[in-house]
């Protein structure tokens, strides 16, 4: 068993090495995660300390990414921002994944009225443009980080629910499900113990691809002033600050945007690769 797993890993590694995009994505993402984890040790300055450099100082040896209007070190702020922007995206996806998967499993498994109600609910949610749904939730709950996570998460629920529902409908016809049912397994046991493991591939693929989107959407809400409030560094709100000084200090908007873009593209390159190896049905979609 152990040898089997090891050779499987080796095979996965070999496939990854053949796909330069995915390899670059994996490397960038690993680097980013390490940076985010070690952020307090890596930041050359206190990210919230005023006047560690000149106000709006250009990039140079002391401050590789320049300084903002209060003379705070941009590199330190971007590094610390990773600790906020990444978890916000991950939490939003986790919320969408858990709720969407449960909704999909239940509607797909029970069928009948439960299914027609669930499908209606999914269709109605998909009927809203995603950013509208997120803004609507923010309008009701008010601005703040946790509300951004909830807003982006809720907007993602129908996408997970739809895919899981489809996969559940075909998985429940399998003989092993029949066998488990004949042995007296209860519905929750059947769903979580037998069906869920068999529908997990498309869920993993969608989750990976959705993380990038969730990071973009939550940073967009941050940019609009609805998420993290200053002085806490978050990439979206930093970009909004950078916009004010675009003419005289373009580095304030170039660097946070670049890091955000590189993060999302790494995740998407990796997601594309996962889609290829895990779920041939999703290919070309």
């Amino acid at each position: 068993m152990a040898t089997g797993r090891r050779s499987g890993l080796r095979r996965a590694w070999r496939r990854l090495a053949r796909n330069p995009g995915a390899l670059a994505g994996a490397c960038m993402l690993t680097l980013l995660l390490v940076v985010a984890m070690l952020a307090p040790l890596l930041t050359p300055y206190d990210p919230n300390q005023f006047s560690v450099g000149a106000s709006l100082g250009p990039p140079g040896r002391a401050h590789p990414m320049g300084t903002d209007r209060y003379g705070r070190d941009m590199l330190s702020r971007i590094v610390l921002g990773a600790r906020l922007s990444l978890p916000i995206g991950l939490l939003a996806v986790s919320f969408a994944l858990v709720v969407g998967t449960l909704l999909g499993l239940v509607t797909g498994y029970f069928g009948g009225r439960v299914d027609s109600f669930g499908t209606k609910l999914i269709d109605i949610m998909l009927g809203f443009p995603p950013i509208m749904l997120a803004l609507l939730i923010i309008a009701i709950l008010g601005i703040g980080i946790s509300n951004v996570i909830l807003a982006v998460g809720i907007a993602g629920i129908p996408r997970f629910a739809r895919i899981v529902r489809g996969a559940t409908i075909s998985a429940k016809e399998n003989v092993y499900v029949e066998a488990a049912r004949a042995m007296g397994a209860t519905a929750p046991r059947l769903l979580l113990g037998h069906i869920l493991p068999n529908v997990s591939a498309p869920i993993i693929v969608l989750a990976t691809l959705y993380i990038g989107r969730a990071i973009l959407e939550s940073s967009a809400l941050g940019f609009l002033g609805m998420g993290v409030q200053p002085p806490t560094p978050e990439w979206g709100s930093m970009l909004s600050e950078g916009r004010e000084f675009m003419r005289h200090a373009p580095w304030l908007m170039i660097f946070p945007g670049l890091v955000l873009f590189l993060t999302v593209i790494s995740i998407n390159l990796l997601g594309d690769y996962l889609r290829e190896i895990l779920d041939p049905r999703l290919r070309g979609t």
């Binding site: 509208m132 803004l135 008010g142 990038g212 967009a220 003419r247 170039i254 955000l260 593209i265």
Partner: protein, 306 residues
Amino acid sequence: MSTYVIRRLVGTVPVLFVATTLAFLVLQLIPGDPVNLMLGGVPTSLELRENLRKKLGLDQPLHTQYVTFITRAVRGDLGISFRTRQPVVEVIKQQLPSTLELAAGGMLIGVSFGMALGILAGIRPNSVIDTITMLIAIIGISIPGYWTAMLLIFIFGLKLGWVPIVGSGLPALILPSIVVGSFAVGDIARLVRSSIVEVRNEDYIRTARAKGLPERRVILRHALRNAMIPVVTLIGLQLGLFVGGGVITETVFARQGIGKLLVDAILEKDYPIVQAIILMITSAYVFANFFVDILYSVLDPRIRYG
């Protein structure tokens, strides 16, 4: 055909119902008293507040308020803005043309570039142009739209001075349209490519070639026509992106429009405006998808009987 249209039309009712209910509930769910919000924190006598409450119908039971809200909405009365005290419908009317211009410009750019790239990549899979297209596609879905907007403003507006970055008219529409269009280019290109790759080996394509038709005609008349079906659906789904893209793009370009109005209204807690825009954008989205479905069934008659 007409049964299909009616069935689809009936299908839009629950979505519109939920949208109206949600829009109504916005004012009920927010923490705090709407009368306070309307007065903007100015101290006033109790009598004045009660009068205002009565005037707004907030003293009525919830279901009566709901019925009033819907009846008024159907008649085109969406209340008064808390901030400007203008009728909400008037405020929206002023902002609408600018948003429609932007959505049309974005759609033109997104669809034309997306289709062109997709066709080029699809007729030569695994070629250099295919790799470039796929790269553009993945960059398109990974780049923050508001960052693209800022880079374009910085490069073409501030540094090169080629296009105005503020104002109205066609030149000022170029950069915002590119941004809104860029949200869709990648998705459309990917889908057109895979649809063309799929139909390339169909019998009717081989027949068209065997008849000696020039390659251009084979691709444009035979392959593309059949490859268009999923693309039309995608463009329909993207309408939301064109509308949603406006929210961000209008803010970055400091353009007038519904998107900017919505963002400002949420930040300023001007809830009647928020309610009206939610209602309007969702209805527009629902009807756009409805028309796409109808178009879809015209392109592929099998759908109607499915």
